[in-house]
């Protein structure tokens, strides 16, 4: 899908949680985040993290030099969940 769009002259970037799948599918640009499937942009209500994943992915449109490059966001799922839990406690969604 991504390759078909790029072939039309439109630059593309994807966010992936499966580096091995992305290495084989060879999209033009990708950002890997080590998060749970279905949680590419982080955890619920963690707006700063969701935004960080988005902006890091979009930066690849300006910074990527070679097709097939996979950048990695230096985050961990464990830390994302800890932060998400703290945010939910602050919001009164979790005790």
């Amino acid at each position: 899908m991504q390759r078909a769009i790029e072939r039309r002259g439109i630059p593309t970037v994807s966010v992936t949680v499966a580096r091995d799948v992305t290495e084989r599918a060879k999209p033009p640009r990708a950002l890997f985040v080590p998060f749970m499937m279905g949680h590419h942009f982080g955890v619920p209500f963690h707006r700063a993290l969701q935004r960080r994943v988005l902006t890091a992915a979009l930066e690849r449109l300006e910074l990527a030099e070679r097709s097939g490059e996979i950048a990695t966001l230096p985050v961990t799922w464990a830390e994302a969940r800890r932060q998400g839990d703290a945010i939910e406690r602050e919001l009164g969604l979790k005790r």
């Binding site: 966010v15 992936t16 091995d20 033009p28 499937m37 279905g38 619920p44 070679r66």
Partner: protein
């Protein structure tokens, strides 16, 4: 286990092999690279669209066929002005625990609107695009849905595309 190691490692290793074992022939392997199309303007002037394989769709649109044995090769347009309350997920191949509470973890419609409002990006196309990624016929998928959706993305006036393969 250090954080650096956790950072480099995917949460569920060996996904390609696992999925290809469950659904033989379903996973894509390419050997060639597609030349990079240049970003023609700064991001702050670039109109972005979002393409998702997470099965997110407007509540009043035709539900994706989540039990089709080969795969549902149709796509939906999702207005970029949608709020999470306007949307629902029709897909059964990934965990939706987070998305059920905050759709932005898989379909960040609120965050994308904020990036457009604060000028980080030049704007959003009127519609985003959504499909379900599962198929056991990746060649057929590429010939039909991928080409049709790529045409639709170009016709929408997208100048850059963010994709989220769920």
């Amino acid at each position: 286990m250090t954080d650096a190691f956790e950072t480099a490692k995917q949460l569920r290793p060996g996904l390609w092999e696992t999925v290809n074992e469950r659904y033989p022939g379903s996973m894509i392997t390419k050997v060639d690279l597609v030349p990079l199309a240049p970003l023609r303007k700064p991001l702050s002037q670039t109109r972005l669209t979002f393409v998702s394989s997470a099965g997110v769709q407007p509540r009043d649109s035709l539900p994706f066929d989540v039990v089709h044995p080969v795969g549902d090769f149709t796509f939906r347009r999702v207005p970029s002005s949608s709020t999470p309350a306007d949307l629902e997920i029709h897909q059964i191949k990934y965990p939706t625990a987070g998305a059920a509470r905050d759709l932005n973890v898989i379909f960040p419609v609120d965050r994308l609107s904020e990036l457009a409002e604060d000028g980080t990006i030049g704007g959003l196309t009127p519609n985003f695009f959504s499909f379900i990624g599962y198929t056991i016929d990746p060649a057929g998928f590429e010939r039909t849905l991928a080409e049709a959706l790529a045409d639709a993305v170009a016709a929408e006036g997208a100048e850059a595309v963010l994709l989220c393969p769920a």
